[in-house]
Symmetry: C2
Subunit: 124 residues, 2 copies
Amino acid sequence: MRTSAEVVAAYWATAQGRDWVAFGALLADDIVYDLSQTRELIRGRDKYVRFNQEFPGDWALTIIRLVATGAHVATWTSFTVDGTEAPGLCFFDLDSAGRIAHITDFWPERYEPPTWRKHLVERY
Amino acid sequence: MRTSAEVVAAYWATAQGRDWVAFGALLADDIVYDLSQTRELIRGRDKYVRFNQEFPGDWALTIIRLVATGAHVATWTSFTVDGTEAPGLCFFDLDSAGRIAHITDFWPERYEPPTWRKHLVERY
């Protein structure tokens, strides 16, 4: 059986390659995808594959970090959507068959820094 | 030598315990802390310990996930600041001495969901 890190590496490779059959085969039937910032859930392989197929814009991804302990995996990916870069952060839980059963996905956005730490920071 | 997962578990335990001496001992002298959403950097152990000491509000944290591969660690923590909960996501890189040399920290905020995926999601 593949390691959990290998499963999630294949998840991103098949997404990037738009190989939705291979992508779907990595997912548990009853996968739950949690977009916690918007309090949205997508339940089940079919809907979750469709979500990815229908994701708007011309997008590409690269993996910045992929770390794993047992059945838990975290990734930091760089997404470019229609020429704009944004980070995506995912926490995956695999089931005992080595399929992805749960994903919590975060899309952190830019914000203006507060002033309380101004004496400690530099901007880039 | 402690594993990278143990070092980062101690990082969060000493932060929660306000044990700034033990916290600082886990950090490389030239640690770089990157708040990429605001394009802020904090360089060096002294400034970074002060940043944590001066962090405003009455805060407490719990670890939701801590995953590690080699010198790379990712954590998803739940922060409560003055009664409001927010997730914090950190990616750590350790140096060859097992000290934390680089942290990229993300604070994803709530946002309103786009409509294109409305037929696939449920809200909670």
